[in-house]
């Protein structure tokens, strides 16, 4: 009974994090973008600096008519948002925020492996949406999404493998247990490659060619309205939470901080994740969109070779210090 309660509580916490953190990041994005562009951003909803803007958006989305185009493949079209969203929920379960069994949803032995595999499923949602919409622009967007995942999944895998090599385990808490501060400079190239590749996988600017509004309307999500569209948006922001959390755990030492990990480990994890999320927003405001061919080229001719070099470096250092 106690075990069942424990599991239920963990699932509840993960679920609540899954529903709130993306909204917090979304609201932060509204405000940070606004201030970077010399605007105020949302100011009315909720009274205090428009804090309830996204709640209001949610209410609006829930009341909008759900239009499924006549030519669309109905079932696939309707299921696509769920397929895009749910993988990120599962990934959140495996990300540790503090030391010990108590501060992680569930210790998954093959952590890194599990996390990367499940994250890759999300793209199926975009592909389904693109294909089932029976819309040229959606199809183009869906294909671009898939091509982008193909290009950027590889450097992500390779750099994650580099960390697994350094730690000698693929378990996420195991990696953090083995973490030393000098891993930061040692794995810095891998960290940047991983973060950039993750951004591209989430189709965040400057890698948002699949949803380029000036070319293909809104890519795979063009035909979506109301709640289903909201779920796609939620998937994007849940993806930011997951990516920043993973980068923190794999490369930035997670719960380790300058003054030790006693008691305050989870604060460090959340702080690092929040800073990375800020960087994600910052990049959106700063860089223009990459063209589709530039996008592919960046991955294959720069990120993949860099991650191979990082693996070589990790291997040599690891064997030398043994």
């Amino acid at each position: 009974m106690n075990d069942a309660l424990d599991v239920a509580l963990r699932l509840l916490i993960v679920f609540v994090v899954f529903l709130t953190f993306p909204l917090i990041i979304g609201q932060t994005e509204h405000k940070v973008m606004a201030h970077m562009q010399g605007r105020l951003g949302p100011m009315y909803a909720g009274g205090f600096h428009g804090w309830a803007q996204l709640v209001a958006d949610g209410v609006k989305f829930a009341q909008k008519e759900d239009v499924v185009p006549a030519g669309a493949d109905r079932r696939v079209f309707q299921l696509a948002p769920a397929v895009a969203l749910l993988p990120y929920l599962l990934v959140l379960l495996a990300i540790p925020i503090g030391p010990g069994e108590g501060a992680v949803g569930q210790v998954v032995d093959a952590g890194v492996f599990f996390v990367l595999a499940v994250m890759g499923v999300g793209v199926l949602g975009s592909l389904m949406a693109g294909w089932a919409s029976a819309n040229k622009f959606s199809l183009l967007g869906g294909l671009r999404t898939a091509a982008q995942l193909l290009a950027y999944e590889l450097p992500m895998l390779l750099t994650a493998a580099s960390v697994a090599m350094a730690a000698g385990t693929v378990s996420l808490p195991g990696i953090l247990d083995a973490f030393e501060w000098w891993w930061l400079p040692w794995q810095i190239v891998g960290a940047i490659v991983f973060f950039v590749a993750g951004l591209a996988e989430l189709q965040r600017p400057p890698f948002d060619m699949p949803v380029a509004d000036s070319e293909i309307i809104f890519g795979a999500y063009t035909e979506y309205t109301g709640l289903r569209f909201a779920l796609f948006l939620l998937a994007e922001y849940a993806g930011i939470v997951v990516l920043c959390g993973l980068t923190t755990v794999l490369f930035l030492g997670g719960w380790h901080g300058p003054w030790g990990a006693d008691g305050l480990g989870w604060v460090w994890t959340l702080l690092k994740t929040a800073v990375l999320a800020f960087v994600v927003i910052w990049l959106r405001v700063t860089y223009p969109r990459l063209r589709e061919d530039q996008l592919q080229k960046l991955s294959w001719t720069l990120l993949v070779p860099l991650s191979l070099a990082q693996i070589a470096l990790t291997g040599i250092v690891k064997v030398v210090i043994q």
């Binding site: 699932l11 679920f15 749910l86 495996a94 029976a134 590889l154 090599m165 385990t169 709640l227 191979l308």
Partner: protein, 140 residues
């Protein structure tokens, strides 16, 4: 199924049995059920909340506001298939890095295993170089 004890010798007791090993995945399964329920409830509630007033114009395929041109399916040049091939080759290879990564520095492995990995990386690098030389990575 790989040996669970090799994957994770540092965290779990080495004599872990399969039932314990898969217990963590049963929690993952439970969370998946929670997620599916969430989506089902959201869609169900949405059905109750939203208006349903379809008109032929609304159900028309959207193309920047003008009437759609031609069929729903259009010809496009698929430029991505070469990348897909490249990806399959590389990704399948890199999967093998993970089991290797967890043990390569363990006692009894060391330098020889590292050299083996460099040969492996060499293959990957040559493959990428070949693709580059062939002009595959340049948009045509």
């Amino acid at each position: 199924m790989p040996e669970p004890t090799v994957v994770d010798a540092t965290v779990v007791d080495p004599t872990v049995v399969a039932a314990d090993y898969f217990q963590s995945y049963s929690v993952v399964g439970l969370l998946a059920v929670v997620g599916v329920l969430f989506v089902a409830v959201a869609f169900g509630a949405g059905r109750l909340l939203r208006p349903v007033v379809p008109t032929p114009e609304k159900l028309l395929t959207y193309e920047c506001g003008v009437d759609p041109v031609g069929e729903g399916w259009a010809h496009t040049q698929v430029r991505y298939y070469v990348y897909a091939f490249l990806y399959v080759i590389f990704a399948v290879d890199s999967i093998f890095l993970f089991p290797w990564a967890t043990i390569f520095a363990a006692p009894g492995y060391g330098a020889t295993t590292l050299v083996e990995m460099f040969i492996f990386l060499g293959f990957l690098a040559v493959g990428l170089l070949y693709a580059y030389k062939k002009g595959v990575l340049v948009w045509t």
